[in-house]
Amino acid sequence: MTAPPEFNGWIRHFLLTIDLNFRSPQAIVYGYLVPVFFLVAFGSVFRADTPPLQAQMGQILTITILGGACFGLPTALVAERERGIWRRYRLLPVPTLWLVLSAMTARVLIVASAVLIQIAIARAVYGTPLPAEPGALMLAFLFVTGAFLGIGLLIAALADTVPAVQALGQCVFLPMIMIGGVGVPLAVLPVWAQRLAGFMPGRWSVEVLEPCFDGQNGLHAAGFRLGALAVIGLAAGASGTKLFRWEPGRLAPPARWWVTAALASWAAVGAVAWHTGRLKPVLFETGAWSNITEAEIAQIGFDGLPGDNDLVAPLAPPALDSAESRGFAAKLSLWPKGRLDDAGQSIRNLVGIAAVADLCADPRESEIARLVFRQLTSGFEPAVARQALAWIVLSPDDGQAITRAPELGLFRHPPERLVRQRSVIYAEKYLGRLLRKIPD
């Protein structure tokens, strides 16, 4: 039985799209070399992790898919439209959408090849484990690629020229890379950025791809994320299909409503995520502090710490008792960031208060440091406090670092790097006292 000519044509166009892609130096650079550049950049930072790069594969693959779908697809479509090729296709006895679909399907395979190359390079160069759940990864890949291809189609519909594709693509790409949880891990972003990332598909993409590598959850709890990607992809795809132009020319005025509809899907997903409690602050390796062992704690030395009356990290005597100090202690005990569900992060935040007061040369710096210690001993189990303080000492860059607390009268905000360094000193002083290795 022979296939109908429309299907033959579809297959030919599909194969031709792939063939031309691999013969285009520009497509090779953007589709393959740039993602490898990101992989190497991630590798240079996270190669020492255990296992190396596994926790970043969701981000790396999202960047790869974003590039192929939001740049590769619209660049090819708009370049062909500028050259009048889609005008020529329009003469064929098939709907234009038929060929758009063929181009998009070819793009799925092109992006898939780039993803496989990334996984292979990560494995070969950094020893990153292969995905623990390849089936789940394939499903996640299809949802992510579908969402980004929908956005790519909309970009192709809106952009008049290839440079306009680059500009529009960057408008989507850069926010997701910078504050969308794609380029920079969510946990190291400020809380407002984490929440904003919930309105962008990049976050949901990372969160459905990543679990497929560590094998802990796979896609078992990813229903909302997959749904979010589907909604965003369908809205953008429908808008892109409606606005698709087979020849250069001005968009009709209703275009703005279709673009609004596509963006509204981002807002709707973010709003639902917010109201269903899915946009809670993400902590860097939540619970990592709880893995600190007594042996690790025992190896921490307390030599060379500055004195309690020194300029750096001063600490008032235990006998401190004044009306002001009692008032501050009351505020500190109710301070929300010191009462998080995550005890380790709460303790890091409290220690951070002592560090900020010291760095800002607050007149109460030594008293605040003492009151923080009291809060640690009274508000937490000793074992928990020991583990969390050791975590701050051993992993100074983990978790979030507070740099100001206006609600406690600390309005200035020193650089985060210094806060983390000073937190280590205070954590050592506190831990030494808890272990009775430093006299109080």
């Binding site: 044509g9 031309l20 003469l91 006895p93």
Partner: protein, 333 residues
């Protein structure tokens, strides 16, 4: 070929299935198309019978390309109907498109695509198509079959687009300014091809602003000006309708006396130039006979006689009241 006057409606139902044996290859009735404030096509109607070469002749911006684009389904007319081999384009565009091959103005392809790939791709969308190798051979592209499009010369690209237009064995070939930018040799090749199409029984609908080309190639011509067909007929009939005088250019030894030249019967104008006397007349045969008699009587000798009958250019000037220029109208898009 038959032509309908502007505004005349055909009694056709859009959903009716065509009787291809009796249907004209192209039937355009009361076609209107506006771009913003500009009326590009204003009520054009014409028919092209199967197997004919029909040319839409007019200056740039006259509405030729817009008319062809409507026939090809690239534009939706504001009003009017178009049938291709009886299929109404509004309701049966797919069936109509299967029968049409087209070469567009300023067409191009992907830089890396080869002629073989392009022919194979476009042919694959049709149930009936020419074999790729057959087309490469016919259009003298065998040696360039696997060369990227970007490396083809202008003439080779032109031949490739003609091959693409032929890929589906079309019954109607639509060519928009097919010889624009071609060198004389390539132009002659294209003219030969169009004649071959006609001899194969295919209908050719082309647009041109080349008067000579239209006169040489077309069985029928529709002259378009400002979106309207101002006249439509076979070229000879159009010229025959012209009231412009023929021009006789006569050189004698000794030169003709001015009094003799202007006194010749049926001569309505006479002027003397470098090439001799130019005599304007609507009865050139009689003037020529009388001239020969008088020259003989005077013992003089006829050195050169040239007869220029009215041309399509004269027809255009008569119909539009302004001189012919292929570039004189503003583009409508």
């Amino acid at each position: 070929m038959s032509v309908i006057a502007n505004g005349t409606r055909l009694d056709v139902s859009p959903d009716a299935k065509p009787d291809s044996s009796n249907s004209p290859a192209v039937s355009v009735v009361d076609l209107w198309k506006r771009f913003g404030a500009t009326e590009a096509v204003c009520g054009i109607s014409f028919e092209v019978a199967a197997g004919q070469v029909f040319g839409l002749l007019g200056p740039n911006g006259a509405g030729k390309t817009t008319t062809l684009e409507c026939i090809l389904g690239l534009r939706h007319p504001d009003r009017g109907s178009i049938r291709v081999n009886g299929w109404d384009l509004r309701t049966h565009s797919t069936q109509a498109k299967r029968m049409i091959g087209a070469q567009l103005q300023a067409a191009t392809l992907q830089d890396k695509i080869t002629p073989r790939q392009a022919l194979s791709l476009f042919g694959s969308f049709y149930a009936q198509s020419f074999a790729t190798d057959e087309l490469l051979q016919r259009f003298d592209l065998e040696a360039k079959g696997d060369v990227p499009f970007a490396a083809l010369s202008g003439g080779q690209r032109q031949r490739l687009f003609l091959a693409l237009a032929m890929v589906n064995r079309p019954t109607l070939l639509v060519l928009d300014e097919p010889t624009a930018g071609l060198d004389p040799q390539a132009r002659r090749g294209l003219h030969t091809l169009i004649r071959e199409m006609r001899s194969e029984g295919r209908t050719v609908l082309l647009s041109t602003h080349d008067l000579g080309e239209a006169g040489q190639l077309c069985d029928g011509i529709g002259i378009i000006d400002h979106g309207r067909i101002v006249a439509a007929a076979p070229p000879a009939e159009l010229i025959g309708r012209s009231r412009a005088p023929a021009r006789l250019i006569v050189q004698t030894a000794p030169p003709l006396d001015a009094a003799v030249a202007s006194a010749l019967p049926e001569v309505i104008g006479a002027s003397c130039g470098d090439r001799g006397w130019t005599l304007e007349t609507r009865a050139p045969d009689r003037v020529l006979a009388e001239l020969a008699r008088r020259v003989s009587e005077a013992g003089a000798e006829l050195l050169h006689v040239e007869l220029n009958r009215p041309s399509l250019e004269d027809v255009f000037i008569e119909l539009t009241g302004r001189p012919w220029s292929g570039e004189d109208l503003p583009e409508v898009r």
